[in-house]
């Protein structure tokens, strides 16, 4: 499990660089690096479907973010925060971490999940659906309601983007 620690440390370092660096384009590229490391982590955690999806989604997300930031005429981020704001925020995050750490003990140990529902899917999946990829059988057969809701959310998001970015009716603004 050493590689998991190394990969998650790499992700934390990449995230800190992405948050703290001044140049916006470098920041976006650091987020892309975090996403690619996350894809490798999914592969190590035995989730190849998620690894493929995360890889391609990360590429598309990077292209969209670069399209938004490039040529916007803002060379550097100049943001000087007051000391009080950062202090209050760090205190809040410290409290959050303390409570979360105390509640982590109630979770099952790492590597020993509770698989009361999943055992049924693993045993009956091939006979009931005929699909050998059990994730696909869970998505599209046992829990297809979730996928229907997901399709609705995606449709709403696409309609929202097309409505925000439309040209008709924008002429009158000075």
């Amino acid at each position: 499990m050493l590689e998991l620690y190394i990969l998650s440390l790499l992700m934390i370092i990449g995230a800190i660089i992405a948050v703290e660096i001044k140049d916006l384009l470098s920041s976006v590229i650091a987020v892309g690096a975090v996403g690619l490391v996350l894809s490798v982590t999914f592969l190590i955690l035995k989730a190849p479907d998620l690894a493929i999806t995360q890889l391609v989604v990360e590429l598309l997300c990077l292209i969209i973010l670069i399209q938004a930031t490039i040529k916007r005429g803002i060379p550097r981020v100049i943001s000087r925060q007051s000391f009080l704001t950062i202090f209050v925020t760090l205190t809040f995050i410290g409290l959050f971490l303390a409570f979360a750490y105390s509640s982590l003990r109630d979770l099952p140990q790492f590597g020993h999940p509770i698989m009361r529902v999943a055992n049924h899917y693993l045993e009956e999946g091939l006979n009931k659906t005929g699909a050998t990829n059990l994730v696909a059988s869970v998505i599209l057969d046992f829990r297809a309601y979730d996928t229907l809701g997901e399709a609705t959310v995606l449709f709403t998001a696409v309609i929202g983007v097309l409505a925000v970015l439309r040209k008709i009716g924008r002429k009158k603004t000075p």
Binding site: I12, T41, L45, Q54, S79, L97, L154, A157
Partner: protein
């Protein structure tokens, strides 16, 4: 147990970016990092030590597979996250066209 805590630290880095930063692109980056941390947490809970990927192989009976249910939930969550990120980016681009800046304090000042 330590790996759960490292995942929480990744979550808190994103939370810090959302709460403190004033640039809209930095806030979007914070939202993306938070989403990554939550997805990673689901998959970490589903992992079984010395397990195999939940894909059957011919002529072989395998019993120690990892949990396929959180993987199915996260697979939909990743694509939803991309669509929501695109929606936030388009709203941010519109705000930039209107005010000429990504700084949220100046946007607030110009409003009245």
């Amino acid at each position: 147990m330590i790996i759960y805590f490292m995942c929480l630290i990744l979550f808190c880095v994103g939370l810090y970016a959302i709460l403190v930063k004033r640039n809209l692109i930095k806030i979007i980056i914070g939202i993306i990092i938070t989403e990554y941390a939550v997805n990673l947490f689901f998959i970490l809970v589903a992992y079984r030590s010395k397990g195999r990927a939940p894909i059957l192989a011919p002529d072989q009976i395998v019993k120690n597979m990892v949990d396929p249910l959180p993987q199915a939930l996260v697979l939909t969550a990743i694509v939803i996250g991309l669509a929501v990120t695109a929606l936030i980016v388009s709203i941010a681009v519109r705000v930039y066209e209107k005010y000429g800046t990504f700084d949220i304090t100046k946007i607030r000042r110009l409003k009245g």
